[in-house]
Symmetry: D2
């Protein structure tokens, strides 16, 4: 265990990147070693040594960001600055390309994209990765650990490549895994995961669907039966494609996810027995907050690093609705990445996150 | 069939009441016979003959509302003005009390509350009606017709008491009835109805939950396994309590409902076969718009009088998600009430609603 | 005066275009003569005769839009269908090009863009019109009437080219003109017009500033001292550049404008004297609603065709804040265009607008 | 200078109280000494030793809030726990009553209400304080320092009673003071301060105006010529009542204030000369961020403890619009209170705030 580490972030210009920068700059062990921010910059900005971070994200202006810049990316930049851990908050195509190179150069990588999350090629098919089937891709995938500390703490500690989970997937897997692992859920009956996410989940690119006039005062379902995060649900929860339906919706809010998850039990359960299962499952997981008698709401998780989970049983104890909330940019992306860094470094898992 | 009719509205001060007033004032057959607005007014307002409608709802100001007032309610007022049809946009307790009296006085009633929607006393239990079990209540209930023209057009035409459906219930019943009636839905497998509504559905009273700071940038689930509209689902769709789960959520928008409804079929279906069932079911229903290849969104139904329905099948044709949208203040309340009036009067069902 | 007229709309795909289509389709004298919608369509859509209107604007689906299409534009199309009045809801560059041609072909034109609103070349400079200085442009401009019926009713009635006002400009001119015309405002003291508009005013193109994440939960000022609508203020109110400051702000709402306007009077005024001036000025203007003792709010004008105006005086009667509200897509664009059509046709000015 | 201090908070149930709690719990010098939270609790809650803080504010749940409670208030509670600094986030009537008692008991007080901000009785008149004119009130007021460190750093350091500024007042005073102090502003010409605030500024009580349906998709002006914060502007900026107009507006967002401030200069200025004045004025003020060439926006200050200020000059250099933004719950309330604590304790002014 070391007291600090030199990090770098590729992709700081996006929403998750901004939050990741904020977290890294405030982490007690990293304050004195600000991350290197690197990426594509045009010639004009290159001439001035990069783009000031506060030009990209004015909200980050403060004494701790004075002088920080988005610098022109090169592997040499990372090497010369002694970077040991690389965060990629980049599109998945770019992560597919850069991760093998980063690993080859001895960097440990936390990749926030969907590039390396899926073990099964059938689940990866939807991404249409160009390098699918190559030896390099297979070798890289073999090194990847799914970066959800609540499920894979030990593997993450030793991992060289951590594939940070999808935001929707995080909210659903954390909610379902305890019950499915305990063998309570009647899988043949089918699980329904009805999720709703704020617009930041759709990324920073201006499109017809991220236009204020499309999203505001609206709610829309999308990606029915086909959303990319489905593969993560199958692999991590351990269910078949026919056993779960996942429907994402676009909420007219900036951030936050709420998933309403419907299960049927093989036998009648009590609130106490269910509560006990969750308490045990998350006994050593500081970033999960369990609700008792109340249900989570988006307003209580945004701008926090927690996932909140609550359960309501039907009066006969045979059915349950699990409500799961998190901030898609934090526990659904950047603070989970930070949590993974803590685990990888042997630091307290919640350090810098409370 | 008459060309016009004198109406009265009790409860114009609420959100649905305002929309009902707007619709009645613009209806081509009612323009020359504005409704009587009546209700409780304090002594000061009584002294000036009531409260100008545009003081209550400034957005309604215009040449067609000049001089209109919320007048002090009395049965004599209604009689003396020749009222034939009474709309009640009142709390259900008040509707329980007033409807028998109105019927006794020969008025036809369209009640927008939950007072008279439910046939089964077990489904009514949640309301705790004070007059439950009395002979008068039973006689009144016996006269009530559930006011969804798409299901009960003929009975509504002759009804003296129309119980206008709940907003959530409308969005779910219209979406499910065609498939359940056709015998396609595997009921034992369970139906999930995950609904999301704008804040106007919570009424005009300022409460902790209607506070802007509670609702904005938030999403919350409530009333799990216990929402009052559940009884309407059971009775109108024809399913048992164990066969459907209904979860309402509070959306951070003023108006609009979207219901995501999950069903499993007994046998594999095609998009075309499902589409055909809906087209036939709603062949003569002008206020339902069926989507083909697209899914409804809230932005396309708010400020319209329509319910929009779309269906997405899984690739194996065994499961479907039905998405159903409407404006909770219009097709979910006041424009459905107006539609019922059209049916009761023998006028074209969509008159004044397109 | 004729009972109806054949219209055409170029630019129906935008937000104002959609509202204009809705208004035209509901106008009592135009119901039986739906407008021709024309514009650019790609080859595939041309092959199917254009794009169904309800594909572009699903919210307009209904019996009155069945079969309507956005057809491939050509002057021949307009001629062959007998179009007499052409609405242009197009970018100003396009209006500069098309209006002269339309006039030459004998069409009367209502142009919703900023192309022909300004008499003074110095005020037009900010637009950088390509044809500035040409004889054709000068001749066309000479025919243009500023389309604010409250100020130019008589000229509009006979106009062949009506330049429909800007949305901000409408809210400010209507608020200030009565007081400035009455000679009450101390112009040397300076007028401040602080305006706030919903995002639809920024147009349908997805940009960084119309992204939900930029606009939501935000407020930003822009175009300080340089906004294009300033010229309209100067010309229509009759003030010098140094006598007014206009600052627009982007509100996190879909639609609506509120302008807070600060003036100082040459002598002390009373609420009654000010009120009297407004009442007289707008005595024959059905689309302006004057507030007495209350102030307008955006919620009371959105989805209406009115401009609402209210005034609050300081206790010494020497200063006033005028609050002016309208729906930028309606009285700020399409319903004012419709109002102009009514005036041009000699129909009641408010017909189809209440 | 001590390394820590025992604090107490009365009024933690409100929005500013929640933020104050969060800040105190994260302050590096206070982490080990959590504040005492005290207030009225009913008998049932008193029996269980108070109300868990996370029941009141679920978003604060975490390892650092375990066991913290809102305890039944008594002066003995504060004494027995060794409280030295008392924060009052209470209604002003309550602060008028409690502050003298607290001072008498030797506590230092930071009062977030409007109770003790105003020196002039004419400016206090609008509050209608019950104890106005009493000797105790006068003595208490004489001890009060206006808690804006950027203006009164030295006095705050030694103060026993700090009157924390109003949110609107903070945004306007910080923006104007440098220019007015420098003698540049032509005061006879009049200053206009047009401010817009999120709904949290209106408090947690559910009222007609804080109802989601009132505030959402809306903008409204209120308190014209009469808002309570006006007195703070007059006293702190040093202008007469006739020299400034202040109009607050209610924005449809949870938090954040943007003030657009209009001034005229006695002589022509340059961007650089104006910029220089601000830089010098705030040279030692870490919580003010000055914009150069850009203007502040609400999105960049919410959830930060900064006030952002930017200026745009007219082309002739004679007029300027100053745009000033802050988070009304932070720099407009609780983080300014924390900043005052830092100054009172001799700690770095920005500690725990960046």
């Amino acid at each position: 265990m070391t007291n600090t580490v030199q990090t770098a972030v590729i992709g700081v210009t996006g929403y998750a990147g901004a939050e990741l920068a904020r977290l890294l700059l405030h982490h007690p062990r990293l304050k004195s070693v600000p991350p290197i921010f690197a990426g594509r910059v045009d010639a004009k900005d290159e001439a001035r040594g990069g783009i000031p971070l506060t030009e990209i994200h004015p909200q980050l202006a403060g004494s701790n960001t004075t002088g920080l810049k988005l610098e022109p990316f090169s592997w040499e930049l990372l090497t010369s600055r002694g970077v040991q851990v690389l965060f990629l908050a980049t599109p998945h195509e770019q992560s597919r390309e850069w991760v093998p190179e980063a690993l080859a150069r001895g960097l440990r990588v936390i990749d926030l994209s969907g590039a390396w999350r899926l073990t099964e090629s059938s689940n990866r098919a939807i991404y249409n990765f160009e390098d699918e089937g190559t030896e390099l891709a297979a070798e890289t995938q073999a090194q990847a650990v799914y970066g959800m500390p609540e499920l894979h703490r030990v593997e993450i500690a030793g991992a060289r490549l951590v594939a940070n989970p999808g935001c929707y997937a995080t909210s659903i897997i954390l909610a379902l895994k305890p019950l499915v692992s305990a063998g309570l859920v009647d899988l043949d009956h089918g699980i329904v995961a009805d999720s709703k996410s704020g617009v930041s989940g759709a990324g920073k690119a201006p499109t017809a669907k991220t236009h204020f006039m499309y999203a505001a005062d609206n709610l829309s379902a999308y990606g029915l039966f086909t959303h990319r995060h489905t593969g993560e649900l199958l692999e991590q929860i351990g269910v078949d494609k026919d056993q779960i339906v996942f429907t994402p919706h676009l909420l007219p809010i900036p951030r936050g996810i709420l998933s309403s998850i419907y299960v049927r039990f093989g036998s009648s359960q009590t609130a106490e027995s269910i509560s006990q299962i969750y308490r045990e499952f998350f006994a050593h997981s500081p970033m999960v907050r369990l609700h008792n008698k109340t249900l989570p709401q988006i307003q209580h998780v945004v701008h926090t690093n927690y996932a909140d989970i609550g359960v309501q049983l039907s009066s006969d104890g045979r059915r349950a609705v699990i409500v799961s909330c998190l901030d898609n940019l934090l526990k659904g992306a950047s603070s989970q990445a930070m949590q993974n860094l803590n685990v990888m470094q042997g630091w307290p898992e919640a350090e810098g996150l409370e």
